[in-house]
């Protein structure tokens, strides 16, 4: 169906609009603008998706929900690999990230990739924050369209 294409195109436009708008300002503020957009969207989305599911037992349960249901609802596939050190750090690896597939299939445009991942980092951070977990989310790409999101849960 055409639904995924709509979000992908909208996302590309959002990224290019934010960068055009803030041409005079620094690059860093563009990334944080995109990330905070994703944050608010993540909060709303998680409220909708967890409406019917029972309470989560622990952090790992929350991350598994994120990798399966949350990712499937947004990107139409699950996260391919979830790794943890059981001390609050999780790495989500997606081998065919839908927002990057249109960019390239290897190392071309690697420097441009972080712009397109900022929104998704915010999405994850917003989702976790609404479930009660403060976190820091970063993304890295070494080979498109595969990417890794690293989530570090802040223990208070």
């Amino acid at each position: 169906m055409a639904d995924d294409a709509l979000f992908e195109f909208l996302h590309m436009e959002i990224v290019s609009h934010v960068y055009k708008e803030q041409a005079s300002r620094e690059r860093v503020s563009c990334v944080s603008a995109l990330e905070s957009m994703g944050f608010r969207v993540g909060q709303g989305l998680i409220e909708r998706f967890t409406k019917d599911s029972p309470t989560f037992k622990d952090d790992l349960d929350i991350m598994k929900f994120l990798c399966k249901d949350f990712w499937t609802n947004i990107f139409r596939k699950q996260v391919d690999n979830l790794r943890t050190n059981h001390q609050g750090t999780y790495v989500l690896q997606d081998n065919k990230f839908s927002l990057l597939t249109q960019l390239s299939n290897g190392k071309q445009y690697l420097e441009e990739a972080p712009k397109f991942l900022a929104f998704s980092c915010g999405l994850i951070r917003g989702a976790l924050s609404n479930l009660g977990l403060e976190s820091v989310v970063t993304a890295e790409v070494s080979l498109m369209p595969s990417c890794k999101f690293q989530v570090v849960i802040q223990k208070t």
């Binding site: 909060q43 989305l45 409220e47 409406k51 029972p54």
Partner: protein, 139 residues
């Protein structure tokens, strides 16, 4: 039909509280505030017990001489509290559950509204009209 409905945020301050205006509102605010302790107790108690299927609906929190208080907590730790009249014994568990369901649905819609900042008091008219539909009509 409820006598008072309250939505309480994760940090335990009210996002929305409405009661039937003919009676003293302060009394309801106090009842809701004290019921928060019971809610906290239930949330932490379920954690220690066998965590097979943890429901969002908490059930009857505590009955006072005139009222019964029911609680519900969402996955984002937002609590809904409904106070009903004790004399209205025809209200069954299922009806209370469906009231909470409707509250949760409306709350989700409020949450997804881009003009709403999480943590602000709820000012949505749609939410207001849904709640009025559930409260005892003041005559």
């Amino acid at each position: 039909m409820a006598v008072c409905i309250a939505v309480i945020a994760k940090e335990n301050y009210p996002l929305y509280i409405r009661s039937v205006p003919s009676q003293s509102e302060l009394k309801f605010h106090y009842t809701v505030h004290t019921s928060l302790d019971v809610v906290e107790e239930k949330i932490s108690a379920v954690g220690k017990a066998m965590a097979d299927q943890r429901e969002l609906y908490l059930g009857l929190l505590y009955p006072t001489e005139d009222y019964k208080v029911y609680g519900y907590v969402t996955n984002s730790k937002v609590k809904f509290v409904i106070v009903v009249d004790s004399s209205n014994t025809s209200l069954r568990d299922n009806e209370i559950r469906s009231m909470f369901r409707k509250l949760h649905n409306s709350f989700t819609d409020v949450m997804c509204n881009p003009f709403y900042n999480p943590g602000d008091p709820i000012q949505s008219k749609a939410f207001d009209s849904m709640v009025s539909g559930m409260m005892v009509q003041a005559c």
